[in-house]
């Protein structure tokens, strides 16, 4: 195997000479995949100088550096809002960083940093408010005015993590609708959402980063941008490479830069990114020729509230793009969250720019790493789990017991939840003091008539926060704790949670 980045088929200079003369051969990744299928990768590699790629998806890790210029008298703006969306101001006097995910302090999830960026790019007037840290050299305390993109000295889109090589597809095995950053997920695996453009995906078309590195000129938000390094959480050895990119907002367009709200999740920015892949060697050509059938990702259960979500199966982008995938022998509707229409438009636009001699390829100053560990955040100190707060002396009843008997149990032990178990202590239902009150009011005698059979449970090693969220989302005040075999080993209630807060001095 040759050296990474070697220019054995053609050099960057040769490609740029051809672009200048107007005789470079450029194909979009979609076209190149087809061409390689019919003519073979060798012939395609010989024929084609540049393959253009594209993606257009929600990229939360995005934002913009803005410089407003100085007021008279000047202000050291340490707090700043744009259309009521807070921007980070603890950099020099009139520089701020506006994060795409920042939320409006008056409109919440409806409007945020992503929308402000779209408004700026569209030429709309944006309200600016700033509070000053008063010093001898910056005497002004407050500023309130309006700005447009044109008024700014610099408006630089600088996105710490964009253009994921591929992304997990999402489904939901729980029995309620989930609203996630992967969109609306119907209960019981009712649908699958995916992201990424598969065979058009910029970082999959040069998956070993032989041509993409620091200084690579790219299509960004409808204008020209540059790769400035690996993105945060860059994890290329697992096919999850990312990029950090920058570009001048003043050259961009709202066609390829859109503020968006993911329902009950937050605000984000849809970004169009396109990267030209110069076919410098055969390995790059083979990577660029990978089709949707050859690019795989995992279908992940977002019903599991852990960062280690289980994969239900592997799936190709071809299957995902077909609109249906098979899960547990059932056909489930699948659709993208990123726009494949716009992804194609990005690749087409970039191709046109190169053919028109307006865009040249650039040799990276430094290639990106092909291995980066992705470490979790370790929590130091002890974090309580369910087993630390649950009541272990569980009072249970049998389905054959009567209402009167359970009413006595509740009063005698001062409890609200009585799990109903079979002979082997396996959970079959639950009754609460409310159920018993209702049973008495309706003159019902047998537990069978009043117990809840579909019981919401907890596991002893689950994090407290997860169980608290579960109790509140089902509107219940407690849950039996069960082991792997569904034996009842405890009960956790909102009272236990309250006590925990008290112990920590929160109350």
């Amino acid at each position: 195997m040759g050296e990474r980045g070697e220019e054995t088929l053609r050099t960057y200079e040769e490609i740029n000479e051809k672009i200048k003369r107007g005789d470079a051969t450029v194909m979009t990744a979609d076209e190149f995949v087809e061409y390689a299928k019919t003519h073979g990768v060798e012939a395609a590699a010989k024929e084609v100088d540049v393959v253009t790629t594209g993606t257009f998806g929600a990229m939360c890790s995005s934002g913009a550096f803005l410089n407003f210029g100085h007021t008279d008298p000047p202000i050291k703006m340490y707090r700043c809002w744009l259309n009521d969306v807070p921007a980070y101001g603890a950099i020099a006097a009139v520089d701020v960083y506006l994060g795409a995910a920042a939320l409006s302090e008056t409109r919440g999830l409806e409007y945020g940093g992503g929308h402000v960026i779209e408004d700026l790019v569209s030429g709309r007037v944006v309200e600016l408010r700033g509070e000053g840290f008063v010093t001898d050299c910056y005497p002004r305390r407050y500023v309130e005015t309006t700005i447009t993109l044109e008024d700014l000295n610099q408006a630089i889109l600088l996105n710490p993590r964009n253009a994921y090589q591929r992304y997990n597809a999402a489904t939901n095995t729980t029995d309620r609708i989930l609203y996630t950053y992967m969109g609306t997920l119907l209960p019981r695996m009712g649908n699958v959402n995916f992201s990424g453009s598969g065979q058009l995906s910029p970082l999959y078309k040069d998956k070993d980063f032989e041509t993409i590195g620091v200084g690579t000129r790219i299509f960004l938000g409808g204008g020209v941008g540059y790769v400035i390094g690996e993105g945060t959480q860059h994890n290329p050895q697992n096919g999850f490479g990312t990029l950090m990119v920058r570009g001048d907002l003043k050259g961009m367009s709202s066609r390829f830069l859109r503020g968006a709200t993911i329902h009950k999740y937050g605000v984000t920015l849809y970004v169009g990114v396109g990267i030209p892949i110069p076919i410098i060697n055969m390995r790059v050509a083979r990577s660029a020729s990978l089709s949707d059938e050859e690019i795989f990702t995992d279908v992940v259960d977002y019903g599991v509230p852990s960062s280690n979500r289980p994969s239900l199966r592997k799936v190709s982008y071809a299957e995902l793009k077909s609109g249906k995938i098979v899960l547990n022998d059932r056909s489930v509707p699948a659709s993208p969250l990123s726009s494949l229409k716009k992804a194609r438009e990005v690749a087409e636009t970039l191709k046109k720019w190169i053919l028109d001699g307006e865009f040249y390829v650039s040799k990276p100053v430094e290639l990106l790493p092909t291995y980066r560990e992705l470490k979790p955040l370790k929590i130091k100190g002890i974090e309580p789990r369910v087993k630390d707060i649950m009541s272990k002396n569980v009072i249970t009843a049998k389905p054959s017991d009567n209402v009167q008997y359970v009413a006595n149990l509740i009063v005698r032990h001062g409890i609200d939840h009585v799990p109903i178990v079979d002979e082997e202590n396996r959970l079959v239902g639950i009754v609460t003091s409310w159920d018993i009150a209702k049973a008495v009011a309706q003159n019902k005698k047998s537990l069978q008539e009043v117990m809840t059979r579909r019981v919401i449970t907890a596991k002893q090693n689950e994090a407290i926060d997860v169980v608290a969220k579960r109790l509140s989302s089902y509107g219940i005040s407690g849950a039996p704790v069960v082991d792997e075999k569904n034996h009842v080993i405890g009960v956790v209630t909102t009272n236990d949670l309250a006590k925990l807060l008290e112990g920590k001095g929160y109350l």
């Binding site: 509707p333 726009s339 229409k341």
Partner: protein
């Protein structure tokens, strides 16, 4: 075809819809119903055409129910729509689809007005009329 059946306080408590189904034998499907103590409105799909459809409409009108045709029930602002598919897979009846050119396509006949697509749309391009 979809219709809005508008009830007044006089006919509100009568089972007119059930009678209409029994009498005309048309499988009228309720898509949405709003009932207050003084008025009611039901949106229905009437899956027949021609003389049979006229018969159904006449039945309601004779019972004092105002019948209004619903021309368009969902509007997609194509200027805002990015052509992502965030509204497509959550649609329980597959009324929203992506074409092979990745454009959003809406099949009104399949829509049951659950409105899950309104919230699912990241750019708020979908409205119900």
């Amino acid at each position: 075809m979809r219709f809005r059946l508008i009830y007044n306080h006089k006919n509100l408590s009568k089972p007119i819809l059930a009678e209409a189904i029994l009498k005309t034998k048309v499988l009228i499907n309720i898509l949405e119903a709003k009932v207050t103590p003084t008025a009611g409105e039901i949106m229905v799909d009437v899956p027949v055409e021609g003389e049979k459809l006229r018969e159904v409409i006449r039945f309601f009108e004779d019972a004092g129910v105002t019948v209004k045709e619903v021309a368009q029930i969902l509007e997609i602002d194509m200027g805002r729509c990015m052509g992502c598919g965030a509204c497509v897979s959550p649609c329980p009846t597959q009324a929203l689809k992506l074409t092979k050119d990745w454009e959003i396509e809406f099949d009104e006949k399949k829509c049951v007005r659950c409105m899950i697509c309104v919230d699912a749309c990241p750019v708020k391009a979908i409205k119900f009329t």
